[in-house]
Subunit: 227 residues, 2 copies
């Protein structure tokens, strides 16, 4: 009697929300597509009609986590030393990632396969990557000591790679509360600051520029910067 049909967007959102909830509750492996469909009250085939693959749902989760990270980091960031700002940013990431550690360990595998939409370099994860790069650009721009203008873009690209590195370390980190990774961040962040300072000296500026240019050619640049 009542209309049983839904609009495509509604169903898709229903599936997405269900999947994200289940991911958080039970991890990647235990979140079966059949379970997602059942919990969402749709047929398996229907889920696949609206969502291309399980990878896409992972992707949606990454995006949501990234959004939260950016929000939390922006709230905590204070003007000042670049190293300190990086430290804040990365600790914020670890705080936001925390509930998904089990998930990360289980699913990151799918996230690095080149064809897959979950690879950080793939076009499908461009939104997530762009979010992170935008945040890092702000971190750099609002920091003292001032970063040499000619290095700025490439530095942001390099920091994004470093961010991926921190994430990778976190995934492999079995210590409680990611203590090891936090130590890494605490040691690495001030080092970045020192390296930037070093890059202003004439002896080092050339090499620094070349290193960053190389990295920049291989990692995507932030497109917009801050709003």
């Amino acid at each position: 009697m009542a209309m049983t049909r839904r609009t495509a967007t509604e169903t898709r959102e229903l599936i997405r929300a269900t999947a994200l909830r289940l991911f958080a509750e039970r991890g990647y492996d235990a979140t079966t597509m059949r379970l997602v469909a059942q919990e969402a009250g749709v047929a398996v085939g229907n889920a696949y009609h609206h969502v291309a693959s399980k990878d896409v749902l992972v992707q949606e989760l990454y995006l949501e986590v990234n959004r939260t990270h950016v929000a939390v980091a922006r709230e905590r960031l204070q003007p000042g030393d670049l190293g300190e700002r990086l430290r804040t940013t990365w600790h914020a990431a670890l705080d936001v990632f925390a509930p998904f550690h089990r998930f990360g360990a289980e699913s990151i595998g799918a996230a690095v396969r080149p064809g897959s939409p979950a690879s950080p370099f793939s076009p499908a994860s461009a939104p997530s990557a762009e979010l992170a790069r935008g945040l890092l650009a702000d971190v750099v721009d609002g920091a003292t000591p001032r970063v040499p203008a000619d290095l700025r873009d490439d530095l942001v690209a390099a920091l994004w790679l470093a961010h991926l590195g921190v994430t990778a370390a976190w995934v492999h980190d079995p210590t409680p509360d990611a203590r090891r990774t936090r130590e890494l961040v605490d040691a690495a962040a001030p080092l970045v600051s020192r390296l930037v300072r070093l890059a202003r000296l004439p002896v080092a500026h050339g090499v620094a520029g070349d290193v960053l240019a190389l990295v920049g050619r291989w990692a995507p640049h932030p497109s917009g910067g801050a709003a």
Copy 2:
């Protein structure tokens, strides 16, 4: 009448060889465990009795490829500049990897999942990693300019990470003959040389040591070095 049974090692080797052949012929996805079993003339269950999982077979392939790489690189290496030696080493890697590009793109996904034995950091791939680190240690030790002794171990660890980076770039590189990755290598190798030279200056030695120490704490060291 004749004995149909085989020793465990024989069967295992048969399965291993068949799998490696099929991997090279048809890539990762097309090499089904059922196909491996069939081509090896055993039952599926038997294959699993001798080989824990498909990942393990991938691992065996990695090991074989690594062995070849080390051999080829050792043959080509000439005494001289560190950058040039790195260039030789990495180009050798790309040459050896070449036939498996399709394979790499298909299977690397499984190679980065932390639990999986295929992760470069996992104990299961320690032999492969050790092989590569040993080679890089030789590259460093036989190079001029002489690398400061206190940096040597950590530098090798860092170069191993760089080697993983080169591999990752190669996996994602769609250009013919991995041209893009070769450009990366051609640019990165001399930079390493310059950085090492820079690290001898008093202004930079401190930071360089700290950076390498940080990397060294996070990447495994070579255990033995050259024979």
